[in-house]
Symmetry: C2
DNA sequence: TTTGAAATATATGTCGTACATATGTCATAC
DNA sequence: GTATGACATATGTACGACATATATTTCAAA
């Protein structure tokens, strides 16, 4: 028998264990936002540990936004922000290449899937916004500026979805996108197909076309990236 | 001027402030995984606070997976898991309805956008897996079992994408999906269009069709949910 | 009786110290 | 040169003290 994985021991510190206990406590007791929690000393007594350790563990849940506390009022359950905690670790410097590739691919997937939502929620104002960006692009030649305008265009599409979670999701992943973009741009240019869809093509489809047609054009538009990853 | 929002004061505790300082410190110093951090006492001295407070703040980063520490070896920067921290707060009980609706909608978006990836990464084994599930469905009448099989079918599609982040994303959101599903099922049944695509239709398209056609069928398949939210 | 100010009780927030524990370093012995 | 043991050091845990904010009670004045 190979010793390949002979150290699944994972020295958990006292605080880590307390965190786990609290996690399962919160889940099992089925707390709702606003519900009060036991006092720090009561928890410490119940677990047989010091208040210091309990506070270190609870401090973690405070960061997650699950627990809130005020002087003499005790602690209560709070409604957390789903994306905030993912945001905290969204740093290209900390993530590995494979994860970033996955995330970038997911962006492409979302953008393709967005088509139907867009047709449902499009308004003249949003269309005008897109056209404004495209017009600015027509009068720009600087490569960096164009990259920035491209980001603006796609951001505007997300805005149009009206889905706050998707919008924030995109904004959160922006640092990763920028990073992958810069990596892709450094690679030698590959031969693009001539019939690649432009931003104007997307706008026209959005104005008078169909979701399927839009998706087709978007696929063409993103083709370049699909091939790269 | 209305007093609508005249209390943006947000009493930040000492520990919260330390957390912010450390966050900006980590960002500005451009740490990479493996890089060592100053000692707890040095940080405490530099910030003019107690070691206790510093430890409470650092404890938070340990939960995020950004910092790791070992006795006498000091603290080092670590590669965090992006989804783990989002997972922690993914509890239907803690989130509000609007957020869950957004998340559910995003699932639909992802599933539509998945089409191209699926055609690129499909294999006979995966197709067989899908057919196996569909066959089981044909021999099942119990409503709960069918719901579970439906989840299995779509999970298998995610698996097929080969994108680990997307797979985990779907798995993470499962509790929300279940919740929304149960809510939708409780509503009075709406009249479905007769030409709604079945799982078999999706499989056929996947075997001999095109990404666009698959997306079209998937759209039809998910139409019911689209209308509900 | 009502009102309002002061005293009191209480739970969290911060701090300092002491000690436990693991780990790296170094000297000593063979 | 290797092994053993002593020592130094940074984190981990615990305890006690006090600060601070807030709820509750007390009590005096209107």
């Amino acid at each position: 028998m190979p010793l390949t994985r002979l150290r699944p021991i994972e020295h958990l510190s006292q605080v880590d264990k307390i965190e786990l206990r609290l996690q399962e406590y919160l889940r099992n007791e089925e707390f709702n936002p606003g519900d009060p929690l036991p006092k720090e000393m009561e928890i410490a007594k119940a677990l047989g540990v010091s208040r210091t350790a309990v506070r270190e563990a609870i401090s973690r849940f405070k960061m997650l936004g699950i627990i809130e506390s005020r002087r003499n009022r005790g602690m209560v359950i709070r409604r957390p922000d789903v994306l905030r905690n993912m945001q905290r670790v969204m740093d290209p410097r900390l993530l590995d290449g494979d994860t970033m590739k996955d995330i970038f691919e997911m962006r492409l997937v979302v953008e393709l899937g967005l088509a139907h939502i867009l047709f449902r929620r499009k308004t003249p104002e949003f269309i005008e916004k897109l056209e404004s960006i495209a017009r600015t692009e027509d009068g720009t030649t600087d490569r960096i500026d164009l990259l920035k305008l491209d980001v603006d265009f796609h951001s505007a599409l997300y805005q149009m979805s009206g889905n706050e979670t998707i919008i924030r999701f995109q904004r959160m992943l922006m640092p990763i996108f920028d990073f992958v973009d810069s990596v892709i741009l450094q690679k030698p240019r590959m031969n693009q197909p001539l019939n690649i869809a432009t931003h104007w093509d997307l706008i026209e489809e959005l104005k008078g076309g169909t979701p399927t047609g839009f998706m087709h054009k978007m696929e063409s538009h993103l083709w370049y990236f699909f091939e790269k990853i």
